[in-house]
């Protein structure tokens, strides 16, 4: 009876370990699985095998896995393109956020892996822990309020009106939530900009940084701008990455203390 119960437990734990997305959890469950296996061998009157299973399966293999994820651990960044903050250049990226992320990477000894995503994919990526953090053109929307976040740059959401016609915003963003009825949603900023160029839109709901980019690009010269909400750009983290969020907070605080923050803001914005 004990043997059957332990076998069922071992199989369940194996299934749990296989379905974990976080490697660390998988390793922990695998260790417990080894211990249960050792108990199973013991209950089948094979203490020698049980001892070896506990020593190798639980001790050695767990350590090897831990060592290797410490070595190869990566920070997967869901990056939303945003001029000034984070935009692609070659293999890497440029921008104020990129400097922050690089500092975070040196501090945690984990390499960065950038994945360029659309704004509306962020929530799914974070809640499944497929990305460890999301950064870029990112003001947390009401649906994303439960993720750990680090605010680093105050901004404002504004409505810029050029003429008659519907307003446009990025799908999934905080701006989209402030869009009045009848507004149109776009998957990424390229689509928004080209719709604006074709004259399909009477205006946009954007943050100040985007407004500045559009203004410099000559698209909103005669717009009527009206503030909607004071808020700030944030870096969002997956629910179990609170420690990483604290580290980033420390990074920002230290940069401010040393006075390098203002240089960075001046250089990129």
């Amino acid at each position: 009876m004990t043997a059957v119960l332990l076998s069922v437990l071992a199989l369940t734990l194996a299934a749990v370990a296989l379905t974990r997305r976080r490697l660390l959890w998988g390793i922990a469950v695998l260790g417990v699985h080894s211990l249960v296996l050792a108990g199973l061998y013991f209950s089948l009157a094979a203490p020698d095998v049980a001892l070896t299973e506990a020593a190798i399966g639980f001790g050695l293999v767990t350590f090897v896995y831990l060592l290797s994820i410490r070595r190869t651990g990566r920070i997967v960044v869901a990056a939303v393109e945003c001029p000034g903050l984070l935009y692609p250049e070659g293999e890497g990226a440029v921008g104020l956020l990129w400097e922050l992320l690089r500092e975070l990477s040196t501090r945690t000894h984990r390499e960065l892996e950038l994945r360029w995503v659309e704004r509306d994919e962020v929530q799914a990526l974070l809640s499944t822990s497929e990305a460890d953090l999301a950064a870029g053109d990112l003001i947390p929307s009401a649906a994303e309020a439960h993720f750990p976040e680090v605010e680093f740059l105050p901004t404002r959401i504004v409505r810029a009106r050029l003429g008659p016609g519907p307003l446009g915003a990025l799908r999934g963003s905080r701006e989209a939530e402030l869009l009045p009825k009848g507004g149109r949603l776009f998957p990424h900023r390229g689509a928004l900009l080209s719709a604006l160029e074709r004259g399909e839109l009477g205006g946009v709901v954007v943050n100040l940084l985007e407004l500045r980019t559009m203004y410099l690009g000559g698209k909103l010269r005669e717009a009527e701008v009206e503030p909607l909400e004071d808020t700030s750009f944030s870096v969002l983290f997956a629910p179990d990455e609170e420690e990483l969020a604290r580290t980033l907070e420390e990074v920002v605080a230290e940069l401010r203390e040393r006075g390098e923050w203002d240089d960075l803001v001046r250089r990129y914005l």
Partner: protein, 212 residues
């Protein structure tokens, strides 16, 4: 895809379990293992089999382990080394390592020395001592521990253990020597070999990036 793989593997395992549980594999008559154990100076039947009747299997197994180790050493040496960042000692891990290491080492020695009386033996003892070293490596950094351990001496120790095992094994076979003392010696030598082997393999895998 992931779900399908999990279900498939689970079904296979459950199948194997059922086949075993309903006794489809025939069980042979087991010999009187207590008598067998006594004949080799052991209390534990497994030790009598591993170090007595099947001693040659064990010796060859030890040599396979040594070969694997030599293979790792010579194939990984020309690869580019991983530059370990200067990691400050992790407080918690270091404290735990200091606390646990003596216990781990004593327990592994106990297992090696009492392997002929109860569960234990050289292989688990070596694996446990090896994990103890690895725990220390996680606390201090691999390269630092490697410098402190005198890699050259370790290598000599390991080749000595293998040589000793082979000589002892062949001699006991030729002259028909048996007894508890011999088993303890076997277990200790196997323990040393497995400890050093574990450390060497982990060290080489840990300090090379695996890029050519």
């Amino acid at each position: 895809m992931r779900i399908a793989a999990v279900v498939g593997v689970l079904a296979l395992l459950v199948g194997i379990l059922l086949v075993g549980a309903f006794g489809l594999f025939p069980l042979g008559d087991s010999p009187d293992w207590e008598k067998l154990a006594r004949a080799y100076g052991a209390e534990n039947g497994v030790a009598a089999v591993v170090l007595g009747t099947r001693l040659y299997d064990t010796l060859l197994e030890v040599m396979v382990f040594a070969l694997a180790m030599v293979g790792v050493r010579y194939t990984l040496t020309p690869l580019s080394r991983w530059k370990e960042p200067v990691v400050p000692e992790r407080g918690v891990v270091r404290e735990m390592a200091d606390l646990l290491l003596p216990v781990v080492i004593v327990f592994s020695l106990y297992l090696a020395a009492s392997g002929h009386l109860g569960p234990g033996g050289g292989f688990p003892a070596g694996a446990i001592a090896g994990s103890g070293l690895l725990l220390l490596a996680m606390a201090k950094g691999i390269e630092r521990l490697s410098r402190e351990l005198h890699e050259g001496t370790l290598e000599l120790l390991e080749y000595g253990a293998i040589g000793g095992l082979l000589v002892l094994g062949v001699a006991s076979g030729l002259f028909g020597v048996r007894g508890s003392g011999l088993l303890v010696l076997f277990n200790l030598l196997i323990g040393i070999e497995v400890t050093v082997g574990t450390w060497v393999v982990l060290h080489y895998f840990g300090s090379h990036r695996g890029e050519i």
